[in-house]
Amino acid sequence: MMETRKASRISAFLPRSISKEVLNALSDVGVHDIFVAAARSLVIKAKKGISLLLPGRDLMLDPLDQVVFLVGDEMAHPLFNLVVEKGHLAIPGMGSVISEEIEIPSKDVLFNEKSITPFDANPIPVHPYEVKGICCIVQRGRGEGVARIALDTGTCVPAINFGTGTGVRDKMGLLRITIPAEKEIIHVFTSVDEVHGILAMMAEAGDLEQPGKGFIYSYPVKKALVNMRVVRGGQQHVASIEQVVAAIDHIKGGAEWRRRERGLQKQAGSQKKFLLGLIEINLLCDGGTGADLVKAAMAAGAGGSTIQSFRHVHPSDSPLGEISPVREHCSLIIPEDQVDTIVAALKEAGAFTDRCHGQIHLRRVPRALTYMGK
């Protein structure tokens, strides 16, 4: 594989009403390049009184902003804390933020490390266990059915975006119109002890082992503060269940003490074939160019991709000003030995020219699940 160097990627899911504050704070400190996409979160709304009789969903949807930016490893910690502070993320029910390790091809400069003025960050509460992220891609309309797993198991508050997927359907000629390309991307975070179980349960709920149903994978997270308030509404005890669980986590120093019903996990986790040791190529390019670039990558052997639309927020005097404010984020998950070929194909398709202003960073995907063929 090509030479890479390490960096950090911070992703935050913030309620629309406070995302502006956080964006301003980040710009003030000197973060130049921020990407924002629309998302929604689901929580369970406790039904009270007469609404118990009424049919209908018990889910409440809230608009979120997904805020993503890249930083050097040294500034990751203070910036993470800054996001937590400005976004009030320590309050249960506000939102989630994670920091992950990524790799960038050595020659590229994707962010300006010098622009950030160093500062001291206030301490924040953390989870006393390792957090893993799960990302699941399903057909549009099925997202809530799968995301509910996170709510029903008390794992975390999931976040959902929209995107378009490419893959097998693009090889089918006009018949591809019968398979919708619109996808929902579900983000869930959980502890390292539970990630296999939750992954399997979500795969089961979404029937992901059938062809064309979707894709799910887990990825490592360096630092996280996750929104665990899955139920909104009447609290019937002196403390919410999340507070109790968090307190015991602290006492026990981890999450291994947690036990779920044996039956559920056993059913879900058995006999599933997983794909291991994959790499995710994240390509950011100008709006409208993603489809062509991804096509070139698929011709070079990539199985498929998911394209999401992001808004590029940058200060007006930024040197990155020619980059379009409308960006597309293309995610291609491939085996490690294919990375060089695919990146070369992208380069040949013009990803790094002024037409597309492409930027690449890589993320490790230790475990994934999808339809595996006959």
Partner: protein, 724 residues
């Protein structure tokens, strides 16, 4: 717990199928597999359309047959028409998703990237103008305007007939300027609210002023309706896509649902344009007068100017004028008129100029509307008249299939071509981009054309007829109406059967009983209908009022309820609203579900149509119906967030599309003819105000709920302790 892990990097390709492709360009799909994909796909699409339209269809049928108790004439033809509507809608919606929306999005994304503001504005102007010409909504209003009499509302008559092309151009200019203004708004990131305050305030002020002028007050309904019907199902996705693309490029830090607001402007500016046009034409129009006065020789010059020349004036008199008017036109002499009818009957070329190619037209017109003498003259005797009526009743209104197909196909091609050709021109010549996935886009455009064509035929043959029938029969719920298609000639009529009744003011009315089946129905006796020579009475049945006991209020209440449900049902089927709802759902990442938005809008439209019908029945001036809701709206707009203001005003602008408009107009026409009001416009305008109210109110409620949940969380505090 063990899980079976598989697929390490060293495994053969087939095992890693999930993430690696076999690099071939095409997957071969067998016929069986292809059908297995196609059939569920087609089925699900058709079912979606059936689901959106079943409510309105079943409701109309139920209402006419069960509530009003009048059989539907030509039921089979209507049923075929409805099937065509479903098929047409399915094809059109699919074509919209596959071809039109992606094309619009492509231009919407690339145009702001490559061109400056001036190019964008020019394109916007052209697109807006062509959109008005392409979509047939204005023509539909003109058809509705046929019932307007030149002596009751001269200015309105002018606008709808002689100056009709100017009306279309004015509305087109209004829409073009609106789209361009919308782009300017995105470029400078202006809020929509000031535009709304200024425009709505100005229009309301003019409305109040116009209600005081005898001529201007009649064009108010038309002007507001013109604004309501612009932006049909082809324009909306294109304008939305352009708006979203431009606003994404230029809007600085707003997130979520930007790009809306253009449709709002495109619904308000045409109203202004029509107002301006009417001010220009005001001097040309005489003051309203009675029918007899209008046709008197001293007003002949004015009459001929309004009607467009001597020939057209004669044609108008023969076809549309009432008995006194015709008498007045023929210089007060009955014989002159009969002689004239005889001449026309004998002279084929003259007949053609008046009745067009429709040979049976004169016959049918005399049979339904003529006096007894005229009927005897044309048909010779009653038997012939009877046979003719039976024949025409059974075939409903005759239509020629070829003609129907042709003009709907042309309308469909015109609509799509006029809007997509500028897009292609911009794409290939200005942006120099090639089409991504051209096969999908062309398939989509083809489906759009086919869908629109079939949809148009279905509407004409099915929905319109149903709507007209119900519309004309609807007033039977609160007053007595005649049913001319069911007229018969009763033989062996004995005048001794006639009885006399007396009303409270001392006037005597004669009536007799007619036995129909098992019922004996009282019928008013008109001596003019009795021909002593043949002993026959020419009987036209009447119906209603259904609810005569409560002074007609229950009947009127029924009509208003009918109007509400019809508006609600028709809105749920509208394709443009569907497209908007889908876009809103995509842009807000699913927070505002399409179904929720559509329900809110549908309830609003239903309420609005009820209000509009009330306006016709009780002849409430339009100003009262529009100005108070719009003023309330200004207040609500001030309180609501920018996002909701944009979405709410836009969703009201896209309603009143190809399904609602014909139904509403047919109903308005029917009621206004029976109730005897000057014009039946204004319902659509009312139907456009109320959805904004419902969406904004819903938005305020949703925001309050979210805010209180947010505050509740914040109050709990970071460590889970309440902060005091």
């Amino acid at each position: 717990m063990r899980q079976h892990d598989n697929a390490r990097p060293g495994l053969p390709l087939t095992e890693r199928k999930g993430v690696v492709s076999n690099k071939s360009d095409r997957i071969h799909v067998s016929i069986r597999e292809a059908l297995g994909l196609l059939i569920p796909y087609i089925k699900s699409r058709v079912l979606t359309q059936v689901r959106s339209i079943w409510l309105i269809i079943l409701y109309l049928i139920f209402f006419q047959k069960v509530v009003l108790g009048i059989p539907i004439s030509g039921a089979i033809v209507i049923a075929c028409g409805i099937v065509l509507v479903v098929i047409g809608l399915t094809l059109f919606m699919e074509g919209l998703m596959l071809g039109l929306m992606p094309l619009g999005e492509l231009v919407g994304v690339k145009l702001p990237q490559r061109s400056g503001l001036v190019t964008i504005l020019g394109f916007a102007l052209v697109l807006g103008f062509l959109a008005t010409l392409a979509e047939p909504s204005i023509q539909v209003l003109q058809t509705a305007g046929k019932s307007v009499k030149p002596w009751e509302a001269p200015l309105l008559f002018l606008l709808l007939n002689l100056y009709a092309p100017y009306l279309v151009y004015a509305v087109g200019a209004g829409v073009g300027v609106a789209v361009a203004l919308g782009m300017v708004r995105f470029y400078y990131s202006f809020s929509l609210k000031p535009f709304i305050y200024v425009l709505v305030g100005g229009l309301c002020a003019f409305t109040v002023y116009a209600s005081c002028d005898s001529n201007l007050k009649h064009i108010l309904g038309l002007a507001w309706d013109c604004g309501a019907v612009t932006t049909g199902p082809v324009t909306v996705p294109l304008v939305l896509a352009l708006g979203i693309g431009v606003s994404r490029m230029f809007a600085s830090s707003e997130s979520g649902a930007t790009g809306f607001g253009v449709v709002t402007l495109a619904s308000l500016l045409p109203v202004l344009a029509v107002f301006i046009l009417s001010m220009f034409l005001l001097e040309m129009a005489p003051k309203p007068m009675s029918e007899a006065d209008f046709f008197k020789p001293e007003n002949r010059a004015v009459a001929e100017r309004l009607l467009g020349g001597k020939d057209r004036a004669v044609q108008y008199v023969v076809i549309h004028a009432g008995p006194e008017g015709r008498l007045a036109y023929f210089d007060g002499s009955y014989d002159t008129m009969i002689r004239y009818v005889e001449e026309v009957w004998k002279d084929e070329t003259r007949r053609k100029t008046i009745f067009g190619d429709d040979i049976e037209g004169l016959k049918r017109w005399i049979a339904l509307h003529g006096t007894l003498n005229q009927q005897l003259f044309i048909f010779g005797n009653h038997e012939n008249l009877q046979t003719f009526l039976l024949k025409s009743r059974n075939s409903a209104e005759e239509f020629q299939a070829g003609h129907l197909l042709a003009h709907n196909a042309i309308a469909a091609i015109k609509a799509i071509a006029l809007l997509t050709i500028p897009l292609f021109v911009v794409l290939f010549f200005i942006l120099r981009e090639k089409l991504p996935q051209p096969d999908e886009i062309f398939l989509g455009l083809f489906l759009c054309i086919a869908g629109l064509g079939l949809f148009g035929i279905g509407i004409e043959v099915g929905l319109n007829r149903l709507g007209t029938q119900i519309g004309s029969k609807l007033p039977s719920s609160f007053k007595s109406i005649q049913l001319p298609e069911q007229q018969e000639s009763i033989p062996d009529f004995d005048p001794a059967m006639v009885q006399t009744s007396i009303s409270s003011d001392g006037k005597k009315h004669s009536f007799f009983y007619v036995k129909k089946g098992d019922h004996y129905i009282e019928t008013p006796y008109d001596p003019k209908r009795y021909d002593p020579k043949t002993g026959r009475y020419h009987y036209i049945p009447h119906k209603g009022p259904l609810f005569s006991y409560h002074g007609g209020f229950t009947g009127i209440g029924l009509v208003l309820f009918f109007a509400f449900v019809m508006g609600y049902g028709a809105t749920l089927a509208e394709p443009a609203l569907n497209a908007l709802g889908l876009t809103v759902e995509s842009l807000t990442a699913g927070v505002f579900k399409k179904s929720l938005l559509m329900q809110a809008v549908a309830v609003g439209v239903g309420a609005g149509i009820s209000l509009g019908v009330a306006k016709i029945i009780w002849d409430i001036p339009l100003a009262w119906l529009l100005v108070p809701p719009y003023l309330l709206l200004l207040l609500l707009t001030h309180w609501s967030t920018e996002e909701f203001v944009n979405i709410g005003w836009d969703s009201a602008g896209v309603t009143t599309g190809p399904i609602t408009v014909p139904l509403v107009l047919a109903m308005g026409l029917g009621i206004s003819t029976q109730v005897g009001v000057v014009e039946g416009f204004g319902i659509l305008a009312a139907a456009s105000v109320c959805p904004i109210l419902s969406v904004l109110i819903f938005g305020l409620y949703a925001s309050k709920k979210r805010e209180s949940a947010f505050k509740e969380s914040m109050a709990v505090g970071p460590t889970g302790e309440s902060q005091r």
